[in-house]
């Protein structure tokens, strides 16, 4: 099964019952699969008129109480940015899958890129935090799509699955475990009646319980800066309270959110830090380096946002260099450099897109760093 289809099957397993999207290469297979599967399980698939509409329909469906998602690629991701911001502001659980292709602009529509990683973090205007996951295989995209729904429901935030064209289109064996009800997380729900309920009064974890349309709560939500009642308040104080909480609910819970995998980093002088499809090539490069007697290891980023700052900081005390292969001209390497704080070098191995790195180019960077 290819990654795009694994993504759709995972969404169905996670309880997703609404998909709104717009055709785009290389993400269309996810939409096509959802158009087959959703009507079978009592859900709704709809093809909207553009990605503005897709993203808003996803938000609307989530406010009707349904787990909802969309899937797109670079140009569509750009159009969704405004309303990913609305999703952040209204605290709307939903999942956005980006099967990255090479940009900028129309770029290479059918070919791989990883150029949207910083856009995932900063693409909508204003100050906010988001969760983004990066799968490196069809199995990963299955597992991480379920995780994405769980994190979005738990923290009431859009979760981005930052896949890429190669992961989306490669076919590998995917084990689809039966997802038990206890494996799925649902958004916190109000315990108070409509008279006492405040839509944005947060629980201790900074996440507010969520009523949905049609339950008699008669709540108001707005993209304007708002107070606990959900009412617009145009003051610096209200802005401070709200924007801090929106960011802090992610920052303070990052230990619950952040995931990474490590291979042979225990004694590593050189740590290759990779995500997405680049992980697969980096694994090979690390093995080749070990064969040459270089103490190399691999840190695979699964959660890219929030960034695993502390782990990079710890590793920077032990390693002399991080090698960061990316299918862009340097994005995540900037984060690695920031967290390494000059204690270890952060070396970019760039690729402008259209294909993946050869293991040799990563190996050469490891060798050079070792000198």
């Amino acid at each position: 099964m290819n990654g795009d289809l694994a993504c759709a099957e995972a969404a169905i397993s996670a309880g997703c019952r609404f998909f709104a999207g717009y055709p785009i290469t290389p993400a269309s297979e996810t939409a096509e699969r959802m158009s087959i599967r959703l009507p079978q399980v009592g859900g709704v698939y709809i093809q909207m008129e553009d990605e503005f509409a897709s993203m808003n329909a996803v938000l609307g469906a989530s406010w009707a109480g349904v787990k909802a998602m969309t899937a797109t690629s670079g140009p569509g991701f750009s159009l969704m940015m405004e309303n990913i911001g609305l999703g952040v502001m209204l605290e709307t659980p939903c999942v956005v899958v980006n099967i990255q292709r090479a940009g900028p602009s129309t770029g290479l529509p059918t070919m791989v890129g990883q150029g949207d990683m910083m856009q995932a973090r900063w693409g909508s205007h204003g100050s906010y935090e988001i969760i983004a996951l990066a799968p490196s295989s069809p199995q990963d995209i299955f597992d991480l799509t379920i995780l994405a729904f769980n994190l979005s429901e738990k923290y009431r935030v859009p979760v981005l699955v930052m896949s890429d064209e190669v992961v989306g289109h490669m076919s590998e064996k995917v084990t689809m475990p039966r997802v038990a009800p206890e494996d799925l997380i649902h958004r916190p729900r109000p315990h108070l009646g409509p008279e006492e309920y405040l839509p944005y009064k947060a629980n201790a974890d900074l996440v507010p319980p969520m009523a949905v349309a049609g339950e008699g709560y008669h709540f108001h939500v707005t993209g304007l800066t708002h107070d606990e009642r959900g009412y617009p308040v145009m003051t610096a104080e209200a802005q401070d309270r709200l924007v801090r909480r929106l960011a802090d609910k992610i920052r303070f819970n990052k230990h619950d959110i952040i995931r990474y995998k490590e291979f042979q980093v225990e004694d590593a002088d050189i740590v290759v830090c990779a995500y997405g499809i680049s992980v697969r090539i980096a694994q090979l490069a690390v093995r080749m380096a070990r064969d040459e007697g270089i103490r190399a290891g691999l840190l695979q980023l699964i959660t890219v946002w929030p960034f695993p700052e502390e782990r990079i900081r710890e590793l920077s005390l032990q390693a002399k260099a991080f090698i960061v292969p990316e299918i862009n001209y340097g994005q995540i390497v900037l984060e690695v450099e920031r967290c390494a704080g000059g204690r270890a070098k952060a070396i970019l191995v760039p690729h402008m897109g259209g294909s993946v790195h050869s293991p040799q180019t990563i190996l050469e960077a490891i060798r050079e760093a070792e000198l």
Partner: protein, 286 residues
Amino acid sequence: MTANLNAEGRSTERYLRQDRLPHIWCSGCGIGIALDAFLRAIDRADIDPDKLSVVSGIGCSGRAAGYVKLDSFHTTHGRAIPFATGLLLGNPELNVVVFSGDGDLIAIGGNHLIHAARRNIDMTVICVNNFNYGMTGGQVGPTAPLDARTTTTPYGNFEPPFNLPYLASASGASYVARWTVLHARELERSMAEAMTKPGFSFIEVISPCPVVYGRMNKEPKGLDSMHYYQERSVIRDGTDPKEANIELNGPILVGKFVDIQRPTLWDNLRHVSNKAREKVRAQAKV
């Protein structure tokens, strides 16, 4: 805004967030009257307020969602209709009303409007048309008549406007009406009809914007500006929406223009869902 009494003499105050008043609308603006007509229409149509959602975009009319004591969503500029589409497809038991302005629904959101009408999704769109972008200071909009002066057409508007009833009807709307804000009773009746009508309903409400558009075009002030629009209007139910273009200082055709039956989006979706499930059952037997 003082809440009026509905046909049964019940106050519409219970549908207003009293703690959010006074509202932001200028004196002489018609948006409040349009909103009050909508609130009265809820009772007239016997809609369960627990199942009623109001979605607005951005702009003066877009603030309506913030004043109604209903499930209410103040979304981004132009995107109220697709947000409402998601709500309806997530829960078909909801009654969803989009209440927003001409700039929001017709310019930046124009594509969503025509596609929602094409789908014949069971939604009511109330479009308050004041011929300009009031909130941002009176810039030209896609509804401003040719030659109208606005803050960005200082020598007169050089673009022809959309004819909204024609646009909605040509796109597939099942119900289309237009009234000015002083046609308060007719508005209430039309809104009640629209909310109970299966499929996509579109109501254009012509409202003065005395502070910016009205001043720029030397319209009468205050209540007189409302009379000015009412006096220009000609009630012609069932007229071909093609004829409903509005010219500067010209007559304004009002009335119910379209009231037809077409399969709704849910009618068609249920058909597809049944087919999908039958197929799954057939496969399970094999």
